[in-house]
Amino acid sequence: MKRILHKLLPALTLLTFLLLWELGVRWANIPAYTLPTPSVIVLSLIDHWPSLALSWWFTIKITLGALFLACLGGVLIASVFSLSPQIERAFFPIAVVLQVTPIVAIAPLMLIYIESTTAALLLCAWIVAFFPILSNTVTGLRATDRNLVELFRLYRASPWQRLVLLRAPAALPYFLTGLKISGGLSLIGAVTAEMVAGSAGRQTGLASRILEASFRTETPKMFAALALLVLTGVIIFLLFNALSRLLLGGWHSSEQSHTVDHNS
């Protein structure tokens, strides 16, 4: 019984929260256009499912696309940095600049200069998402056990062997940490870019639905779209947690939850 309760704890907390929300709004008689109840939101979700589903799919595509490109870019650039300290010194500041520039400011500019809306949105989400992967992977590539590096030197390993057999696996836990962070960020980047800059027609995601609902004062629909966004973020989080457990579970301290057996 205790184990079942333990597993269900997050779900129960969520349900309690939703229940309080529903009852609270009803009791205080808050109108739907200010704060809708969860039941009204679900109804709105069902009502507008066709358009919301389409937008949801679009947002997911942008998010995953940006994440994939962020992995590619982050890992590639990190590898180059690890091979050449000079290049790293020269270009790391640029990476930092990209990280700290607020998307809200550059998104409108991106959409002006780039023809394709989808490409512009991908770029904005990529800018937000790639830095944690880059930064963490760089650290990971550097964090190799010094003795192992000597060992590889001793056995005259080629630079390629060193990268693939030593540095890459050593960097994996760090890369996965960056990935977990970037998962959420690419979603935020995709949504922010679309919110700030906007797009029209079929090439629109949940952000546009939120804006539209906000402008048309359709608050329940706005919350429904928001709920889908939150769900997407949670799914991404859970997915990458599972991936991390899968890849690191056997050997990395971050995923060890049980005691090590001692056989001599």
């Binding site: 739907a32 200010t34 906007g198 029209a200 004062t217």
Partner: protein, 337 residues
């Protein structure tokens, strides 16, 4: 002469009574201060609101600002909106607000194009490769343009209230107020743009509407009436009288606007009959009639923006505060001799 004395005594009386009860009122607009808000600023600047016992604070809107939720939330008392589509949405979603006056008989919403690019004809606009439309328009009258006039979503690019993209692309078109953007385009781009008023092609909504909460209308109609009346007087004085105080106040609120731009805008407002045309000329500025609202709604239903059952038109607007021929005499007295 005698008339003057009577008027003075009348005003004095008002002043004395007003000195007792200056009710604080907040009025939110839908943009940064510009000539299209002139009448309201006039009523503040020349003391008309004060004469009607109101201490009015004007709260500007702006590019990223949406003041509309503030009205049902009771954070403001009156709200300026740009067209009736907002009002239809409100009623559809059960938001308890209602239109009490329509300052513009014609909506100055327009599409602009570069001259000599073949856009002299309205029908050519839908073929423009790029239409720069802001979010507010995208979710309202752009839908109408798509359904009724064949515009396409593929051409829509977000308009961020920056003239740069339009000026840089000769084949682009963009949205704007017919009494404002053309002036700026002429200043920055050094050319006179082609302007197509949506109102000339079937977009027959009133504009620069004053909205109030239904509870205010029910419980405090006197307040609403005073605000509407003072605003109407303000508009008359702004359009036909000495608006220098209003101009100064607008330039203070919005440092980016210049005196030349305001004056040029007033000229266009008069030329295009935005404020004072049609019914307003006989019934006073702010005039509304239910039939026109009904007609506009029917057109929007046909354009697929609404379903007839979505909106109870009786809740959209009330004409109890306007159509009283207020300001007509004042206008006559201000006319150049």
């Amino acid at each position: 002469m005698a008339l003057r004395i009577v008027q003075s005594i009348f005003l004095l009386g008002l002043l004395l009574s007003a000195a007792h009860a200056q009710q604080a009122v907040t009025f939110a607009t839908n943009w940064k201060a510009q000539a299209a808000h002139g009448g309201f600023y006039q009523a503040v600047a020349d003391g008309t609101y004060k004469k009607y016992g109101l201490d009015v604070t004007i709260r500007q809107g702006g590019p990223q600002v949406n003041n509309r939720p503030l009205l049902p939330a009771r954070r403001i008392d009156f709200l300026m909106t740009g067209n009736l589509l907002h009002s239809f949405d409100n009623v559809k979603n059960g938001i308890p607000v209602v239109v009490v006056a329509a300052m513009f008989q014609k909506d100055p919403q327009a599409l602009m194009a570069h001259p000599g690019q073949g856009y002299e004809n309205f029908a050519a606009l839908k073929n423009a490769p790029t239409a720069l439309i802001a979010k507010d328009g995208q979710f309202t009258w752009w839908q109408w343009l798509k359904m009724v006039h064949g515009f396409k979503d593929e051409t829509l690019k977000p308009y961020n209230y920056n003239l740069g993209p339009f000026l840089a692309q000769p084949k682009a078109i963009q949205q704007g107020y017919s009494v404002a953007e053309p002036i700026y385009i002429q200043e920055q781009g050094k050319f006179k743009p082609v302007v197509h008023l949506l109102a000339d092609h079937g977009f027959s909504t009133y504009s620069t509407l004053i909205e109030a909460r239904t509870e205010t209308v029910k419980n405090n109609p006197d307040l609403v009436q005073r605000f509407v009346d003072a605003s109407v007087i303000g508009w008359v004085n702004f359009m036909y009288g000495d608006r220098s105080a209003a101009n100064a106040l607008m330039m203070k609120d919005n440092p980016e606007i210049s005196l030349a731009e305001i004056e040029a805008s007033v000229v266009l407002m008069k030329q295009q009959g935005i404020v004072d045309s049609g019914e307003a000329q006989t019934m006073g500025i702010g005039a509304m009639n239910a039939a026109r609202i009904q007609d506009f709604f029917n057109q929007m239903v046909k354009a697929g923006l609404y379903q007839a059952k979505d909106v109870d038109l009786s809740k959209v607007a009330t004409t109890q505060f306007v159509n009283k021929q207020l300001g007509i005499d004042l206008k006559k007295s201000l006319a150049p001799k």
